[in-house]
């Protein structure tokens, strides 16, 4: 029983971290209808920046999110202005191609800059756990979950409680209409994309602590994160949280009670089943084709 409970705890904590990693991906899709395949590469990039700050300045990886978040915001802004803006009116599949190309380019650039070796950020707490009775709660995962809560509630507040957020949502629902009432559509789009990429600042911090970083490891992350947002409903923030928690727990239980071989398949099975049974995901709504541009 202890074993099963611990498995559940580990699954939920991992799920929390997944939610943090997936938040920007789902935001960009929900608002802009862009599937940002480069999200995984941007996470690894943020992780490597965190590594650099830690190695050179001894900056705590979680504290360094304060630095990497604005940097990643700027990166997101630049990517949008330079590349994505050009294909805003093209079909969604073109955004997949474009961002995939970006992912490969980033991978190559990271390989040149940081070499194809594994990098780990190892502050004191990385291998420590909080202990409660017979259970252990790995500290890095706990911090990751807290960061996920902070980032996701921040995004939620931004979208629902600020003018910029309302503009973002309005632009996503009806670009022509919101332009008529004075929303700068292009500015809002760049802002959304930049915010989505900025979340990789916090995500990369946690990633760099939990897993060794390698330029090509982004493939692994993007496939997992897509599984999460597809399950939760593409574009839904609460959906990403629910999807991440379900998949974290499913992965942990599969690894423990079925086989570790099957644990990584869980994500892909989920994508398949969701697309067959409930294509809009758990909490996603069907998009209205008439207003999506």
């Amino acid at each position: 029983m202890t074993h099963a409970t611990e498995t559940l705890i580990l699954g939920l904590l991992t799920g929390g971290v997944y939610a943090l990693l997936a938040s920007g991906l789902t935001l960009i899709f929900g608002v802009m209808n862009i599937i940002n395949v480069a999200h995984g590469a941007l996470l690894v990039l943020a992780g490597l920046l965190t590594f650099e700050l830690w190695r050179r300045l001894g900056l705590d990886p979680i504290a360094s999110a304060v630095v990497t978040t604005p940097v990643m915001f700027a990166v997101g802004w630049a990517i949008y202005r330079l590349f994505v803006a050009r294909i805003r009116t093209a079909p969604v599949s073109m955004t997949v191609l474009l961002t995939f190309a970006l992912a490969i380019t980033l991978e190559g650039a990271m390989g040149l800059t940081w070499k194809n070796v594994f990098r780990s950020v190892t502050p004191g707490y990385v291998n420590q756990s909080f202990h409660l009775g017979p259970f252990f709660f790995p500290k890095a995962q706990v911090f990751g979950c807290l960061a996920a809560v902070a980032v996701l509630s921040g995004l939620w507040l931004l979208l629902t409680r600020t003018w910029a957020g309302r503009a973002i949502r309005a632009a996503s629902q009806n670009p022509q209409g919101s332009a008529l009432v004075g929303v700068d559509i292009r500015g809002v789009a760049a802002l959304t994309f930049a915010i989505g990429v900025a979340t990789t600042g916090a995500g990369g911090s946690i990633l760099s602590v939990l897993y060794p970083l390698f330029p090509a490891s982004h493939y692994l992350w993007i496939s997992r994160l897509l599984g999460i947002v597809v399950l939760g409903g593409m574009g839904s923030l609460p959906g990403a949280v629910v999807g991440a928690l379900i998949l974290g727990v499913a992965e942990a239980f599969t690894a423990t009670y079925v086989s570790t071989r099957w644990a990584t398949v869980v994500f892909y099975l989920v994508i398949l089943v969701v697309l067959l049974v409930r294509p809009q995901g758990l909490m996603g709504s069907r998009l209205r084709g008439d207003v999506v541009t």
């Binding site: 070796v117 594994f118 780990s120 004191g124 291998n127 202990h131 252990f136 897993y211 060794p212 071989r261």
Partner: protein, 408 residues
């Protein structure tokens, strides 16, 4: 119709004549009268997935060529390396070796890196009846084809790389010997055979298996595996770890607060710098692994190799560089012993004789599979020490049981 055949026959005959004239010329040069350099061709994964070990292997070959040429070359002729880049691609590696043999007409070949690439490349060499000594490709499939010209220049094929550890465990007094064991391994052509063979051997020796799992290469989260290991409480944890997963499992075991009496991992701990940084230097204490080469080993030429490598590249040689150097040594020994560049004679000689290399003495069975043992190494005091075999051990001390994890 008949006339056409006639013409075709002539054309073929002329081609054959030209061909034999060319190769005849080549053969004449290699008899040692002329002082033209001996050309040695290889293709390495200098870019792509295996670029890191591929680059190391190239440095190993280059250092070997430099050292050989300083001492007058082989058979009084200088050595000239032609190294192509196969981009870690099977198709490219085949094209590369074909080109080296047919267009560049190299005198000798050296192998590439990884079983993936050596499998097709060695077939090209075999077809052309050229000796093929390869530095890294120990998957069983390499030796199931019964090739005559293939030689693997490490001590043992993948399934036997941990034999030295198994023997050590069996040699322990009953009180210290592990009674239970857990075997997590990555589904990898090098790691898994090592652990499979070890598990069978230890089970036969009475070590009970309490947990075994095969995880895919994409696995990043080892907390659940560590949690299960903790629940089963084995004396020995033997992991088939490539790299990332080796660090990941150790970290997760630390988080779970479970420290086994004995911890063995396949390749991960041999990436010294990256491994120590990944798990924390204090936590490396007592971790066992097997390795083909050590910078401390006192085998002939090894210290010269280390010194020269450090001068040239300003870093301690990687294991992959040493393996490449050893492969070239094997080829060199064959040519020297035979006294001419005769592929069949070289192959026969290598099948029948032992060669001294910086990895220790190597010998081969009829399929080219090596017949020696890896070195058993253990992390002690923040550096790796060789524990076995005794004649090259750098310490008599063995850390047992492994101390508890240190929370840094």
């Amino acid at each position: 119709m008949a006339r056409d055949r006639w013409k075709l026959g002539w054309a073929v005959a002329v081609l054959v004549l030209i061909g034999s004239a060319c190769s005849g010329g080549g053969g004449g040069q290699s008899s040692g009268e002329s002082k033209e350099p001996i050309t040695i061709g290889a293709s390495l994964p200098l870019t792509g997935e295996f670029s890191q070990p591929g680059g190391a292997a190239k440095r190993g070959y280059d250092v070997w060529a430099e050292m050989v040429n300083e001492k007058g070359g082989i058979l009084g002729r200088q050595v000239k390396l032609t190294i192509l880049d196969d981009a870690s691609e099977q198709n490219t590696v085949v094209a590369d070796y074909n080109r080296l043999i047919t267009r560049d007409k190299v005198d000798l070949l050296l192998g590439t890196f990884s079983s993936l690439l050596n499998l097709p490349a060695s077939a090209v060499a075999e077809r052309n009846r050229m000796v093929y000594v390869e530095p890294a490709g120990g998957a069983p499939a390499m030796f199931e084809r019964g090739f005559h010209y293939l030689f693997f220049a490490q001590q043992a094929t993948a399934p036997h790389q941990a034999d030295v550890f198994v023997d050590w465990v069996k040699s322990l007094p009953a009180g210290q010997r592990p009674k239970t064991a857990a075997y997590p391994t990555q589904d990898d052509p090098f790691a898994k055979p090592v652990i499979d063979t070890m598990r069978k051997a230890l089970e036969a020796a009475g070590v009970k298996t309490v947990y075994a799992t095969v995880y895919p290469p994409e696995t990043t989260n080892f907390d659940t595996i560590a949690n299960t290991i903790k629940a089963r409480n084995p004396d020995l944890v033997a992991q088939g770890a490539v790299f990332e997963d080796g660090v990941g499992l150790v970290r997760s075991l630390i988080k779970a607060g479970f420290s086994p009496q004995t911890l063995f991992q396949t390749s991960a701990p041999s990436n010294s710098d990256q491994y120590a940084k990944g798990v924390g230097e204090a936590n490396t204490e007592g971790v066992f692994y097997t390795v083909s080469w050590s910078p401390e080993a006192t085998y002939p030429l090894n210290q010269d190799f280390v010194r020269r490598y450090q001068q040239k590249y300003n870093q301690v040689p990687e294991e992959d560089a040493a393996d490449a150097f050893a492969a070239a040594q094997v080829l060199q020994a064959g040519v020297k012993a035979v006294g001419e560049i005769d592929q069949d004679k070289i192959a026969d000689w290598l099948h029948a004789n032992k060669v001294d290399t910086i990895l220790g003495p190597l010998s081969w069975d009829e399929t080219g599979a090596p017949q020696s043992d890896f070195l058993l190494a253990q992390w002690q005091g923040g550096k790796s020490e060789i524990v076995l075999p005794k004649d090259v051990a750098t310490t008599d001390n063995v850390v047992l049981p492994k101390p508890d994890w240190k929370q840094s």
